[in-house]
């Protein structure tokens, strides 16, 4: 690890100020991606601005028709939340399938979304549910948030604070995990919401999460696994690596989508 400065602000304003003041400063949420990269000397922030000193960023509450989760809420807190289980139980299942207990006790939903790893789980849920991502400056619709490999709409010194999930009629997430890393080789989130049916896929493309229009249209007609059996996913543009070639990923998108629909109906 290279040497770095460390700040632990107690307000968002201080955090924003610290980020703006030092070039090369990085936010630290749960540290489950950043710290390993720093330990391998693959990442060299001049300053770490630790968000854990800021009160109020790790709450879970229902606000009207939305479930609102603070950005610093850990995967374990979401997995164990009665509020989440009562409103969007598929999110409990998703959070419980991230990494291992150590990762779930440290890693946060905001950290994961801001990092936008193309194989992370939350982006699929956020995009499928049409969530709104709130920052210290504005609200961003999920359709506008994910901008490709490790890239989001977040600007300089912009800090993700909470995610508002519209409570759906039905939602489920089915993941085919990488046997080694447990990241998604293919993860499919399916949501039947007031705004319509949305299907989002993570893990399958280097550019990160994307929606599958043909599946959404078929499920809008009939929300059942059988609606998807005739839809072939085009492997072109999908990722190929030592764990899964593009054609296998394309096939798994179909399998996982059907399983997600089945789980959403259960």
């Amino acid at each position: 690890m290279y040497a770095f400065d460390y700040r632990r602000p107690s307000t968002l304003a201080e955090a924003e100020q610290a980020l703006s003041a030092v070039s090369g400063a990085r936010l630290l949420a749960g540290g489950q991606s950043l710290i390993p990269a720093m330990k391998l000397r693959l990442n060299h922030p001049s300053c770490i601005v630790d968000l854990r000193g800021i009160a109020g960023l790790n709450s879970i509450s229902r606000k009207g028709d939305a479930l609102v989760i603070g950005a610093m809420t850990t995967h374990a807190e979401i997995a164990e939340s009665a509020e989440v289980n009562g409103t969007i139980p598929g999110l409990v299942h998703l959070a419980d399938g991230i990494g291992d207990p150590q990762v779930r006790n440290r890693g946060t939903i905001g950290g994961s979304l801001a990092n936008n790893d193309p194989a992370a789980d939350y982006p699929a849920a956020v995009l499928a549910l049409g969530a709104t991502l709130k920052t210290n400056r504005r609200s961003i619709a999920s359709d506008d948030f994910f901008k490709g490999l490790f890239t989001t709409a977040l600007g300089d010194a912009e800090i993700l604070t909470e995610i508002a999930f519209p409570i759906p009629n039905r939602f489920a997430y089915a993941k085919f995990g990488n046997p080694a890393s447990r990241f998604a080789i293919v993860g499919v989130a399916v949501a039947d919401t007031a705004a319509g049916v949305r299907v989002a896929v993570t893990g399958a493309r280097d550019n990160g999460v994307f929606r599958v229009a043909a599946m959404e249209a078929a499920l809008a007609k009939s929300f059942a696994p059988e609606s998807l059996t005739r839809i072939d996913v085009d492997p072109s543009g999908l990722a190929s690596d030592i764990h899964a070639d593009a054609d296998y990923r394309a096939h798994l998108i179909g399998v996982m989508a059907r399983r997600a629909v089945k789980a959403a109906l259960a």
């Binding site: 690890m1 290279y2 040497a3 391998l40 000397r41 085919f176 990488n178 046997p179 080694a180 890393s181 990241f183 030592i242 764990h243 899964a244 070639d245 296998y248 096939h251 798994l252 399998v255």
Partner: protein, 788 residues
């Protein structure tokens, strides 16, 4: 039988220390004024070193020294050695390239050692290492073992033309050819035994320390055999004479073979400590462990079996290319030869076997012994051949195996081994019972109803442990003997210290060795200490590998105990005033024959030390005896494993539904510990068969260099194992022990692949059978069925 003696599942006495963080691993040890070493490693698989520029790095804060291969050579520190000579079939000795601890003119794999930076702090050493500028002339890399010997490929070592280390063979080619000529059926398979990265939970580490006053060196190291390390570092590398070199291997957190070898880092720390005048510490990070620990397996094989019309196996013919990596690691040459081909008879009565092995250099990490070492590769070959032959002949695979089992002992195979004892059919019958084999068709039908493919696979393995006797091992090319030593020190109050040349790095010797002593002397475990892993305490020993500690190490202890008991009886006889042969020793008490006199163990021990009751001209005071034990033969553990799997054809995910292991380890000292060894071994075999894939790209970069890509088995990948044992005690050691450490890893890969191929309905899948590979194989079987 005492509650702590042989055969009791005594809880491991060392576990309190390990589980409460009170262990002392090398990384836990800190010496006064120690500094830290970081190695500059090659980023290229094959390159000439034009220049190493250390000027900028030398000026970095905290740097105490930067050293390269030239300085090592100038100090006449010898290169790393390979301690087992193999001769090619033409009689020529193997062609070994030099293996400098720090590269001289060339680097030969990614991770190869180029320089070492020693600095005040670890971070300073890392910072300075980044400033070492190495000017490389990148050469073509040789990565693929299948084509490494072809003309036109880059030459890795000038001493080894066509990158060929040796072309070795074993067996009677003419007899095998004749048997194939008259065979009624031949089964032929192409087999890849995948390369594995050991991944002991504790990475390697070393502290070198030089004492200017005495001129003595100390090496704290993660070693399975500290005495062998001292021998090699003294006699071959020339660090210091043995009397000036102490090697300490304290608590060691797993090894699986990878800590047998004498590596560059340990040697360099020991040398550098004198250069900088301070203790030098190095602890591998996990990335370094992936790159530079000796890997395991990596064979490409074509294997054939010839059967007569009754299904009797007449002959086996095997041709293997073994990838030894970029350099010959310490015992690498023996693994694909004498630890491999002699096991190709398996549990079967086969009249003729012929095996050819080409050992090949590639620009990859060195390959050496890893749990099983050669025996898993042999077992995979024979157990796949037998299973596929049975299927091709329409025979039940269990019945087909029993038809070919060796049933009378001793049995001389055509490939060196003389099996001493066993009951192979007994193991198979018990395993079939436990597997509820008769009901398998029902279970298969049930799986089919839910769209799943169920398969069952067998593995009837044999292994050879306790490699011996030393004279025979020497005749096969070994540079060492494979005996073991022990010393039993009885203290005046009767407590006992046992010094053993065996080394425990997870096996639980502090428990099992103490159980033997408890049984023999009738004293509780708390009064027994097992001492190992320090060349200043234990005089000499050969260490632990090849499942030898029980059969060889404990027998040495047993022999020393014989001497202790004999002397104690003599002392007791004088004290009780009976004849020397008039003492009976039972459960810790000496009884005087024909008298009502008796003495407790502790009283006799004290009497030996106070020496008041006997003539010290006739009996020396004290009670301490040693023994060196060289076994008469190998031991031959054997057993049957049955795996049953269910495949989800939609995803290719294989779930292991049940696993039956019936092993014959001879005498078992601690059944709980032995079961644990079986569990761990199966887990590693499942890892090899389904999960662990080592990938180098065409330029020799290790793609699977972390746990993001290299998949180790987890508990959730495994079923609850059914472990049972039969026992035919080993006749060649007095305790009847055969050894259990590697059996699970040897038995399990073919059992699992046989189960998967049974479910698929064809044989076309390689290890590791990952979900994608299985999914493709399911698609291929659909095509096959459609074509039929």
């Amino acid at each position: 039988m005492s509650a702590t003696g042989i055969g009791q599942s005594v809880r491991r006495v060392e576990d309190f220390r390990f589980l409460t963080g009170s262990g002392q691993y090398v990384a836990d040890i800190n010496r006064a004024a120690q500094c830290h070493a970081v190695f500059v490693r090659s980023p290229h698989a094959h390159a000439a070193i034009k220049k190493i520029d250390t000027d900028k790095a030398a000026k970095a804060p905290g740097v105490l020294g930067i050293f390269t291969g030239k300085q090592l050579a100038a100090d006449k520190i010898g290169p790393l050695i390979c301690g087992w000579m193999i001769h090619s079939k033409d009689g020529s000795p193997m062609k070994a390239g030099s293996h400098p601890a720090l590269a001289l003119d060339k680097v030969r794999y990614v991770g190869d050692h180029v320089a070492v930076v020693v600095a005040e702090t670890l971070n300073q050493a890392h910072d300075a290492a980044e400033l070492v500028h190495v000017d490389y002339d990148v050469l073509n890399a040789v990565v693929d073992v299948a084509t490494a010997q072809q003309p036109g490929k880059a030459q890795i070592h000038e001493q080894a033309p066509h990158n060929t280390v040796y072309e070795w063979h074993l067996g009677d080619k003419a007899a095998v050819d004749a048997a194939f000529a008259k065979a009624s059926h031949v089964t032929k398979l192409e087999i890849a035994n995948n390369r594995l990265i050991p991944n002991a939970i504790e990475p390697r580490a070393a502290i070198g320390e030089y004492d200017r006053g005495s001129g003595g060196y100390t090496l704290y190291t993660t070693s399975q055999n500290p005495h062998v390390a001292r021998l090699v570092l003294s006699a071959f590398n020339g660090i210091a004479p043995e009397n000036k070199l102490r090697v300490i291997a304290p608590d060691v957190g797993g090894a699986f073979g990878s800590k047998i070898f004498i590596y560059a880092e340990e040697l360099v720390c020991l040398w550098a400590t004198r250069k900088v005048g301070r203790p030098v510490k190095w602890v591998a990070d996990r990335s370094e462990a992936f790159l530079a620990d000796a890997h395991g397996r990596d064979h490409l094989t074509v294997a054939e079996a010839a059967m007569d019309e009754t299904g009797k196996i007449l002959a086996v013919r095997v041709k293997t290319k073994a990838n030894l990596g970029a350099y010959l690691s310490t015992f690498s040459s023996s693994v694909p030869t004498y630890l491999y081909a002699p096991l190709l008879s398996g549990q079967y009565d086969i009249a003729a076997i012929y095996c050819e092995v080409d050992a090949v250099y590639t620009n990859t990490a060195p390959v050496d012994a890893y749990r099983g070492a050669g025996r898993p590769e042999a077992t995979f070959v024979i157990e796949r051949l037998v299973e596929v032959a049975a299927r091709q002949l329409g025979r039940d695979p269990a019945e087909f195996r029993m038809h070919n089992f060796i049933s009378s002992f001793p049995h001389q195979t055509p490939v060196i081994m003389a099996y001493d004892v066993g009951d192979y059919a007994g193991c198979m019958k018990r395993a079939l019972e436990l597997a509820d084999y008769g009901d398998f068709p029902k279970r298969k039908a049930f799986s089919k109803k839910s769209g799943k493919l169920r398969g069952i696979g067998f593995s009837a393995y044999i292994e050879a442990c306790g490699i011996a006797p030393s004279k025979a091992v020497g005749s096969l090319g070994a540079g060492v003997g494979l005996w073991e030593s022990a010393e039993v020190r009885v203290n005046p109050v009767g407590t006992v210290e046992v010094l053993t040349g065996s080394h425990s790095h997870g096996q639980g010797h502090e428990t099992t060795f103490a159980q033997l002593v408890s049984q023999r002397l009738g004293i509780p475990l708390e009064q027994i200490s097992i001492v190992h892993g320090d060349t200043d305490k234990v005089q000499m020993g050969m260490g632990s590998y090849g499942s030898r500690s029980g059969a060889v190490g404990m027998t040495a202890v047993d022999k020393a105990l014989d001497k202790v008991v004999a002397k104690a009886k003599k002392v007791a006889a004088r004290c009780m005033e009976v004849a020397d042969d008039g003492v009976d020793f039972r459960e810790g008490v000496f009884f005087g024959a024909g008298t009502n006199k008796s003495m407790a163990w502790g009283e006799v021990a004290l009497a030996a030390y106070v020496a008041h009751k006997f003539d010290t001209a006739e009996i020396e005071p004290g009670l301490k005896e040693g023994a060196f034990y060289d076994p008469k033969n190998f031991t031959f553990p054997a057993g049957v494993h049955i795996a049953e799997v269910e495949i989800d054809p939609e995803t290719g995910v294989t779930r292991i539904d049940r696993w039956i292991a019936v092993d014959d380890f001879g005498t078992v000292i601690n059944p709980m510990i032995v079961e644990g060894q079986v569990h761990g071994g199966i887990a590693q075999g499942v890892g090899q068969a389904m999960l662990e894939r080592t990938v180098y790209d065409s330029e020799g970069q290790l793609i699977t260099g972390s746990y993001m890509d290299y998949c180790m088995p987890r508990a959730s990948d495994l079923p609850s194992f059914v472990v049972d044992m039969t026992s035919t005690p080993c006749p060649s050691n007095p305790l009847g022990i055969k050894g259990c450490g590697e059996a699970g890893a040897i038995a399990s890969p073919p059992a699992l692949i046989n189960a998967i191929t049974d479910a698929l309905g064809h044989e076309d899948i390689a290890m590791p059978a990952t979900p994608q590979a299985v999914w493709r194989a399911v698609k291929a079987s659909h095509h096959k069925h459609a074509a039929e």
